[in-house]
């Protein structure tokens, strides 16, 4: 890939530049492998020097990610990736910061840091690998596990409802939310590039399969037989049409979405809701994020992408403005400011 960096120097990078010498230790068949390849494809296209990219993670299977990416990386502690990454970004806003986290790491122990990083609109990109289970600790339910699921710590099935990551992000004031599937690498690559181009916090929920502890948890969405009927691609400015026959669509009926069939009951393509990722109002984005089988297909792609000031830009601006107008230029100036007196 050929890119230019900030100084307009040409940066020629390839996937190999980001492959690390460490042995990748995820289970064979784990969805993480596919996502790793996606990011190794995406990073040469960031327009950044290798040295200006930083990958930050917390704890869990997904959080081993930085060790496998040949960039600067910080594999931190459980749940804290967003907080650590916030410091990295504020310290050096020139860095392209990528956070890799799981559903347990991000929405349970790290839930607070997650919603606040989203709310502040830090210019960072977060991939949330959602396999709806704790993998590394070997199979306990997470805040994203469906009600009733039997796990190591819910032998009678859970009796709590899960978070919907999209609703959580949009509810926290998120400006960019997208959803992808681990094995759909082309689509996921496109989503990551969209995230890169978004100024602000971008959250990508990746429906990721854990072969060992929640194998097939997304099968009703990603299975070969059902995926066309159970996924609707969100593309800005295009009608939300899906289905093997491309004859199903989403229509706004009153204040609810409904699935309709084009050609039935007089419904034409014109009745189908056109996706507007740039709409400030969260209503339809929230409804799209909320959709689940069997009644609805799952929304895939960029669901919400609205512009807003980023925290890091605001901080930089204030610093520039204040330092330009202040007479106090050094700590010596400060020490000698205000009331002082001389002893002779």
């Amino acid at each position: 890939m050929e890119n230019t960096n900030l100084n307009n120097q040409v940066v020629n990078l390839t996937k190999e530049d980001f492959v690390c010498d460490q042995i990748v230790k995820w289970c064979p068949g784990c969805g993480d492998h596919a996502i790793l390849k996606v990011l190794q494809d995406v990073f040469p296209q960031l327009g950044k020097r290798k040295e200006d990219i930083c990958v930050v993670s917390g704890i869990g299977c997904s959080s081993r990610f930085p060790h496998y990416m040949n960039t600067y990386g910080f594999h931190s502690i459980h749940g804290r990736a967003c907080a650590i990454a916030t410091g990295v970004k504020l310290a050096n806003p020139n860095l392209s910061v990528w956070i890799v986290s799981g559903d347990g790491d991000c929405t349970a122990i790290g839930g607070n840091h997650f919603i606040h990083a989203v709310r502040r609109n830090m210019d960072m990109n977060l991939l949330l690998f959602n396999n709806r289970i704790y993998g590394m600790t070997k199979g306990q339910f997470s805040p994203c596990t469906f009600r009733g699921t039997v796990t190591k710590t819910s032998p009678q099935g859970t009796y709590e409802d899960p978070f919907n990551v999209g609703e959580l992000v949009i509810g926290a004031g998120g400006k960019f939310f997208a959803r992808g599937v681990d094995v759909n690498t082309k689509e996921l690559t496109d989503i990551c590039l969209r995230a890169k181009n978004h100024d602000g916090m971008s959250v990508i929920e990746v429906l990721q399969n854990c072969m060992i502890f929640s194998n097939g948890v997304h099968e009703n969405i990603t299975g070969k037989d059902v995926r066309d009927d159970m996924q609707v691609k969100c593309e800005h400015g295009k009608p939300l049409i899906f289905g093997k026959e491309r004859n199903k669509g989403l229509r706004l009926n009153g204040n609810k979405l409904e699935v309709v069939t084009i050609g039935e009951n007089g419904i034409t393509e014109k009745d189908i809701l056109v996706h507007d990722e740039k709409e400030e109002n969260t209503g339809i984005h929230m409804m799209l994020a909320h959709m689940m089988p069997p009644a609805f297909p799952v929304a895939i792609g960029v669901i919400r992408n609205v512009e807003a000031p980023t925290y890091d830009d605001c901080l930089t601006d204030v610093i520039e403005r204040e330092s330009a107008k202040s007479n106090i230029k050094t700590v010596d100036d400060l020490l000698n400011s205000g009331t002082t007196w001389d002893i002779k």
């Binding site: 060790h67 020490l335 002082t340």
Partner: protein, 613 residues
């Protein structure tokens, strides 16, 4: 200024201004300390705010105080028992009885006395009429009515006029200490810039208070405190929390690193964050995080990315930061954690001072997780302690916990203004682009520190982690021998800091019968007592520890040769037990005060004399 009354020379004085929260006592105290500076005295101040934001008016819990300790001799503390109490209402007397001593002068606004005020203060009878105050010299001044009288031509309403009654009290105090009231003008002019009528009113009321004291001859004598023999230079008044912030900023400037502070509000540490956020003009990056954990984690991220990283907190917050502190130890990144200690455990006594986080600072982490622990000894010293904490953190690539205390943080002292260029150089081990032979955990031979390879640096991409790493390469490693080696290296790295810090000093005879040991904010009061006893020819010495982990190399020598060693601290015996562990060859006595209050000079003196018997 011709005084009809006799003038008595004093070496030092403690004065406490107390009134209802709305009476402007903080301003009065600040004004008085300002004039103290101009009079050339050494001084230290302490604000005593109510814990509540808007406590019930006129009650004991609503009393706001401001204490000034000033003198001709060096002032080491903010003072304990007061020579003069200014009390603007009955509750102010009640709230401060603990701080009075026989002979204390109480200047009381007699106009504030009525049945309702007495009842609110919790008095059943008038304390100025019964024998409650018989040990003290009570000056009953009609402060409220005289203030109204002084301002009658200003055309203000009563409420506006009453705002100046604190100035009448100040005028009386200025008279008592033979101070020229024009010393206050500078402060008035700055504080009330663009409000000439307010300046005029304040000057008028101060003058009225001064004249009242003079013409009514309310004092049998007045006092003069000669200027202190201070080193030449430019001085300013500074609180410990501001000094901490500025010390860190100075370290950032001297090291060429930008400062980043991720913090969460917590009493009594919040003022450091509130101070740092002001200095965007000096490129300070201060970030109010969503919680204590995010505070330290964002700072650690900023440290990785090349900033002088700081997080500020108090005891309960330090507990929350434990896990991330372990990560800082493991990743061997520089980080300064300032713990402004308060009474614990749990929420404890948030507005009171204590020294009870020492064990938490030393050991409060999972695994063998050594780090540097320093303790500031006074408000002004917070500047130098914070500077040193930052220097050690960056040069040795390790987290440092700096312990200060609520009383130091909120209290103020005079600081002789240093030049940043005169402070010790700070040279962090920053790796250059394509640093030859760079490995993430390759160590400096002397310090055992690793290099700081900051994202953006060409050719040095690497990953760090909370997982154990192979020494040198930094690759993840579960090798048993490597873990032992790394554990020992992390410990040894911190121990070797002893080669880079000053030796432990001792005040008095190094072989004195009694060695008094202190650390942190007990410095001033212990030193004052030891100095007094030395003048009396007593065989006593004082060793005050700033460096706790590691201890200075000559610690055993300092502890040797005494009949008794007494460790004084505001906790239940944490430093003394640490010494018992680290320096087991000595026998230690301990003196612990855990009341949220500082030691009083009298109680220390009694204790020291008992041990010398």
């Amino acid at each position: 200024m011709a005084n009809k009354t006799k003038v008595v020379e004093l070496e030092h004085v403690v004065i406490r201004f107390a009134g209802d929260s709305g009476d402007g006592m903080q301003l009065t105290g600040n004004l008085f300390s300002d004039s103290t500076a101009l009079a050339g005295n050494d001084f230290a101040t302490f604000p005593d705010y109510p814990g509540e934001i808007r406590p019930p008016q006129g009650t004991v819990s609503g009393v706001s105080g401001f204490q000034v300790h000033f003198g001709h001799k060096p002032v080491h503390t903010t003072g304990d028992l007061c020579d003069v109490l200014v009390a603007m209402n009955p509750a102010s007397i009640k709230a401060n009885m603990r701080w009075l001593k026989p002979g204390t002068t109480i200047i009381f606004d007699v106009d504030s006395m009525n049945d309702k005020a007495l009842e609110k203060a919790g008095y059943t009878t008038d304390p100025t009429q019964d024998d409650t105050l018989s040990q003290y010299k009570v000056v009953k001044a009609p402060i409220t009515s005289m203030t109204l009288e002084a301002l009658k031509d200003f055309g203000w309403d009563r409420k506006a006029m009453l705002k100046s009654k604190n100035m009448f009290a100040l005028g009386i105090v200025m008279y008592l200490f033979n101070r020229d009231i024009t010393l206050l003008n500078g402060y008035f002019n700055t504080k009330f810039k663009n409000k000439p009528d307010v300046i005029k009113a304040n000057q008028t009321v101060v003058a009225a208070g001064y004249s009242y004291a003079d013409t009514m001859e309310i004092f049998a004598n007045t006092y003069r405190i000669e200027p202190a023999n201070l080193a030449k230079g430019k001085y300013r008044d500074i609180t410990g929390n501001v000094a901490t912030a500025w010390g860190l900023m100075a370290a950032a400037e001297r090291s060429g690193r930008q400062i980043f502070c991720g913090s969460y509000p917590i009493t009594p540490a919040t003022d450091i964050l509130a101070e740092l956020v002001k200095y965007k003009n000096l490129k300070v990056k201060a970030f109010q995080a969503e919680d204590e954990i995010a505070g330290i984690c964002s700072s650690l991220g900023a440290s990785f990315a090349g900033c002088l990283a700081v997080t500020t907190t108090s005891g309960p917050g330090l507990s929350l930061k434990s896990e991330a502190l372990g990560l800082a130890v493991m990743t061997e990144l520089p980080l300064v954690v300032v713990d402004v200690q308060r009474g614990g455990p749990s929420t404890g006594l948030p507005t009171k001072s204590e020294q009870s986080d020492l064990m938490q600072a030393l050991y409060g982490r999972n695994g063998d997780a050594p780090l540097i622990v320093l303790a500031a000894r006074s408000s002004a010293d917070c500047f130098y302690s914070a500077y040193e904490a930052a220097k050690l953190a960056m040069e040795h690539m390790t987290p440092v916990i700096l312990l200060t205390e609520g009383a130091l943080g909120n209290g103020s002292e005079i600081l002789r203004i240093p030049r940043v260029a005169d402070l010790p150089a700070i040279v962090p081990p920053i790796a250059k682009d394509n640093e030859p032979g760079y490995q993430p955990y390759k160590r400096d031979e002397e310090k055992l520190s690793r290099m700081w390879a900051i994202p953006g640096t060409e050719g040095l991409r690497h990953r760090i982690s909370g997982l154990e790493k192979a020494n040198g390469s930094g690759n993840l490693s579960l090798d048993p021998k490597n873990h032992q080696l790394m554990t020992e290296l992390r410990e040894e790295k911190v121990q070797r800091v002893a080669n880079f810090i000053p030796e432990q000093e001792i005040v008095g005879d190094p072989n004195a019968d009694l060695l008094v040991v202190s650390w942190g904010g007990t410095y001033g009061v212990v030193l004052s007592v030891v100095e007094k006893m030395l003048e009396e020819g007593k065989s006593v010495a004082h060793a005050h520890f700033r460096h706790i982990m590691p201890l200075p190399k000559n610690t055993a020598k300092v502890l040797s040769g005494h009949k008794k060693i007494l460790v004084c601290e505001n906790n239940n015996g944490q430093f003394v037990n640490y010494l018992r562990e680290k320096m087991p060859d000595f026998k230690y006595e301990q003196f612990n005060k855990i009341q949220g209050l500082p030691f009083l000079t009298a109680e220390l003196e009694n204790k020291f004399n008992d041990l010398l018997k």
